[in-house]
């Protein structure tokens, strides 16, 4: 049984209220202690984490690893290397893979691909409806038994509210979490940009905030009606934050996340027709960005996800509206979170919690903390290290990021997953 000791690091473990310099002891893939040295502990490996931060490994609530029918974009092998380099030790895989995660066979295939890539902690989110078509319920119980951690319909619409209601009731019957990206498809009107001044100036098809907030409001009503646990993903605007805040105050059991780029970029940052800025939901206004940050600070939004979507070059090569949306964002997750801290939007402890303890709570996982007995998922990073986003430093097969070429602060030096070192800088 491999024994590892991580020395001299600043241990930040929000779930246990810990922020101290010390050592973490790992044995048999589990955390032994993050406080006192276990009796007779003789490590096989010692990691010197001086001037670095030692925290729970990050749990990403929304990512695409492509592969299978999308292997030209990326593969599990390429993307789990990116995840490991980003300090991410568990990934929720959205169900819009090719083929869709709507049968146990696909869940098994994903487990197999993850194991072959030496990164077992890939959690499949099962399709809420068959083929994500939004009309018939998927076999949610079978999907859960096969290992799906939640259900959702990714970016695809559910045909009507009656079907959504039934899907939520059925999910609730099996105590399944529903992950929901609120978007009214009709109001969205195939937009590729925020309905605002920039889309108006450039004549881009646009989507109003109401496409998100109306779908969100409807789903909140159904959450109350059905008792389904709902996690809202990738919120993008002020009024969504207000609605979640009100719902929580009212006592609904809901949670929410935001994609990391929404906390930094607005429509005004978009370069003319640069497809790297083509994301869904679209980049919105400065006010929306400030509300999303505020939502994190007060805990209305409890998690930050990468919403990682690697693409091949061709997918981003074309006139803006014709390109595919999405950012390759695993590797910028930590530096962009740290930037929120340096800009005083949130504290470092909050930032780490949004990437570990809080998503673990959403998923009801026994991880996201350095609690003795938990899986030894650990991220060690140097908060002061500058690095440039370029091909020498980049692991993901997708280079579609608006941060390409920029110098960012904060880099992961070691990542441990279940006690195994899966990344070392």
């Amino acid at each position: 049984m491999m024994k590892i000791r991580i020395d001299h690091g600043r241990i930040i473990d929000p779930a246990n209220g810990m922020d101290r310099i010390g050592s973490v002891y790992i044995e048999g893939g589990k955390i032994m202690s993050a406080t006192d040295e276990p009796a007779g502990f003789k490590p096989d490996t010692v990691i010197n984490a001086e001037n670095q931060i030692v925290c729970p490994g990050f749990i990403d609530l929304s990512a695409r690893l492509r592969d299978m029918g999308h292997s030209r974009k990326a593969t599990f092998k390429s993307e789990v290397r990116a995840a490991a380099a980003a300090g991410v030790t568990a990934i929720c895989l959205q169900p819009d893979t090719v083929p869709v995660i709507d049968t146990t066979a696909v869940v098994e295939l994903i487990k197999e691909l993850a194991e072959k890539a030496d990164y077992p902690q890939v959690y499949a989110v099962g399709a809420l409806t068959q083929k994500l078509e939004g009309t018939e319920l998927s076999s949610m119980l079978s999907l859960k038994q096969a290992g799906c951690i939640a259900v959702g319909n990714a970016n695809q619409p559910v045909k009507n509210l009656l079907i959504l209601r039934r899907a939520m009731e059925y999910a609730a019957s099996h105590d399944l979490l529903m992950m929901f990206r609120p978007n009214d498809f009709d109001l969205g009107n195939n937009g590729c940009a925020h309905e605002g001044a920039i889309a108006t100036r450039y004549g881009l098809p646009s989507t109003p905030e109401a496409a998100e907030t109306i779908a969100l409001a409807q789903c909140l009503e159904l959450a109350e009606l059905t008792g389904c646990r709902v996690h809202f993903g990738q919120l993008s605007c002020k009024r969504s934050v207000i609605k979640i805040h009100q719902a929580k105050k009212y006592g609904l059991k809901v949670s929410a996340d935001v994609a990391v780029h929404q906390l930094h970029l607005t429509e005004n940052d978009m370069k003319p027709f640069d497809s790297a800025y083509h994301v869904l939901p679209p980049l919105r206004t400065e006010e929306d960005k400030q509300y999303l940050r505020q939502g994190l600070a007060v805990g209305t939004i409890n998690s930050i996800c990468s919403d990682h979507q690697p693409h091949d070059l061709d997918a981003k090569l074309g006139a803006f509206p014709e390109t595919e949306p999405g950012v390759s964002s695993l590797e910028t997750l930590l530096p962009l979170m740290l930037k929120l801290v340096t800009q005083h939007a949130i504290t470092l402890e909050q930032g780490i919690a949004c990437l570990s303890a809080n998503p673990a709570r959403v998923l009801r996982l026994e991880s996201g903390a350095l609690t003795p007995g938990f899986s030894a998922d650990v991220c060690i990073f140097d908060p002061e290290l500058d690095w440039q986003v370029n091909s020498a430093n980049w692991k993901s097969q997708g280079v579609n990021t608006p941060f390409w070429g920029q110098t960012l602060k904060g880099r992961v030096t070691h990542t441990l997953q279940a006690g195994k070192i899966i990344h070392r800088m």
Binding site: E195, G196, A197, I198, A199, T200, R201, Y202, G203, L204, P205, S206, P208, N268, M270, K271, P272, F273, D314, L317, G318, A319, F320, P321, E322
Partner: protein, 319 residues
Amino acid sequence: MTDNLQLNAEGKLKHFLTIEGLSKSLLTEILDTAESFAGMSEHQVKKVPLLRGKTIVNLFFENSTRTRTTFELAATRLSADVINMNIATSATSKGESLLDTIRNLEAMFVDMFVVRHAISGAAHFIAQQTAPHISVINAGDGQHAHPTQAMLDMFTIRQLKPDFSSLRVAIIGDILHSRVARSEIQALNTLGAAEVRVIAPKTLLPAHVESLGVSVSHNLTEGLKDIDVVMMLRLQKERMSSALLPSESEYFKCFGLTEEKLKIAKPDAIVMHPGPINRGVEIDSKVADGPQSVILKQVSNGIAVRMAIMAMAMQKQVA
């Protein structure tokens, strides 16, 4: 968000993609250059040898008779060789990507692309991707820009009303879907027009339209007060089926330009339309063919203005 893609290191026109980011002096230079070509059409010999030996490809991914014809005539009068490609019916329908179409044509040693495309940003994309010696002229991209139309309209206005700073201009109709309107607004504001007013129902106005530098009216009779230039926009039939408007007749009743409504504008107001016009939908025939209409003048001016833009964009090659 600035846009220097269309200027070279010396600040000269390299591509002509949008009015945005171009200076008043550059727009004025285009108008002055067009002026020098304008008399030519009446000459016996209608050609100058400015672009002799140059190859211009009219790359039309969207059908257009008038714009393509005036570009073709403009290129011919500059003595360039012109190839017309209607891609709507050729390469891309075989699955070839926009980029591959461009690469193939580049390999045939062309000097300029004149591009019309149904997607906003297509001309920018081509200008970014194409070989550095090739100039790209935007002949209309999606709902984004139609800068040569805007310039020929500025040219027409200047012939009749030379002082932009005293002008109040109304643009009436489907602003939301109109690349012409966006370019007209930018050109008028750059040239210092006193006011640009858009008049349309809310369903045909884009979000935050006032951010483009316009005042807004939803009522034609109120909106036409004190107006020197009335610009009508074409109303596409599909606006009715997509629930943006109830019917053509109701639209005509509210926003159609009739002789009576035109009287609300200044007595010497001119009436413009980028064409093709829908008689009885956005404009009454009596107005379209009436004494205040300059619609056909716009068409004739299209040739001189496009000659000027092509010649200026190719200057670096010609010199």
